[in-house]
Symmetry: C2
Subunit: 219 residues, 2 copies
């Protein structure tokens, strides 16, 4: 369940992936996303362009993944960490809010960039779908997997809710420009409390979580 010994192969793979995503983000921030060719990213990471494509299916994906990182896994872990007697709906909601709270805290320019460019926004939103599999796994465990698709459906629904919350959150930012390397301003971000939006989007699902939980207890 932990980390046996990672093995060298695995470590190198991770290193390459990290190198690629960081190079992608750095270059995108420095010179603007449209001025970064795949070749540049690959070179900066010290691999061939072809190899780059073995790790990421698109430039947007690479850039965004530097911000998204392994948020999916962190959410799942956070849910699993909650004591077993708290309402499942609350566990999920809190875990999600917690993980998105310090979104892009490390580099405001990255967030600004993603918000501004349409293609990146798109990729960023699509990335939320990634929480489904790990979340489904923990939910299946908590609900005592019956073979029914309940866990997956709830996980996917939560993911969809998160996506909707994010969409609404960054809707205000629609203009162009501001791509120079010196955006510098963190106070330009949409604001409007991401946390509130997340809770609002997830709350309609609470009854479904409650019902599933009830079923699993009586079973």
């Amino acid at each position: 369940m932990t980390t046996p010994p990672p093995g060298l192969r695995e470590r190198k793979k991770r290193a390459t992936r990290v190198a690629l995503r960081e190079a992608a983000l750095r270059l995108a921030v420095e010179r603007g996303p449209d001025q970064v060719r795949v070749e540049d990213i690959a070179e900066a990471a010290g691999v061939s362009p072809r190899t780059y494509n073995n790790y990421f299916a698109s430039r947007e994906q690479a850039i965004v993944s530097a911000v998204t990182a392994d948020r999916e896994a962190r959410i799942a872990a956070a849910v699993a960490a909650r004591p077993a007697d708290v309402r499942l709906a609350d566990a999920v909601t809190d875990a999600v809010v917690e993980q998105y709270a310090h979104a892009g805290e490390h580099d405001p320019r990255a967030l600004l960039l993603i918000i501004t460019r349409t293609a990146l926004r798109e990729a960023f939103l699509d990335a939320t779908a990634g929480i489904e599999p790990p979340l489904a796994a923990v939910l299946a465990e908590r609900l005592g997997d019956t073979g029914a698709p309940t866990a997956r459906v709830l996980a996917a629904s939560a993911a969809a809710a998160v996506r909707i919350a994010l969409e609404g959150w960054l809707r205000p930012a629609g203009s162009a420009e501001a791509a120079g390397s010196l955006g510098a301003a963190g106070f330009v971000v949409p604001a409007g409390s991401l946390a509130e939006r997340l809770r609002a989007a997830l709350s309609p699902l609470a009854p479904a979580f409650d019902a599933a939980e009830r079923l699993s207890r009586t079973a």
Copy 2:
């Protein structure tokens, strides 16, 4: 609410879109999806390749859309058509089941093709996301839109559930081959009752629909 007068421009556009998607499907069935270049589709539809790309963002999308057609709108319409006093969850479930019941009834070969080829399956599944917007619209109406994202979340959740049901339904079909123009067999399809899977996937969401409905009644 109906059709004012469609206008000539609009009619031509629709005609082109239909021509493209039907050409795409026909060619794909005839000679196998990998033997169809964009150029062929465009030519068969009597437009330039560039124009083809103004209508569809990928070959898969074009092919699949011939089967998907306007299922999204039909589902939304079906929901809207149910009397206002039936449980919302039931209305949605029945509407979905009803629309997917005669899936690819017209051309079994098309279904067979989509099931077989991975890229097409992917595109087919992605297409389910398309039900969200129209469904969200009807739900918003039924629930008396409060500005809260409830309707959208429920619609997206339902779409996700449908996707999961479909995934499970066509999992059994994983092999390759059988791409010749004479598949001819309709009894090869996965079977295992799509309807049951759809209901099973949607049922965990019922409590959420009930709760939303209750809220809207008391408000």
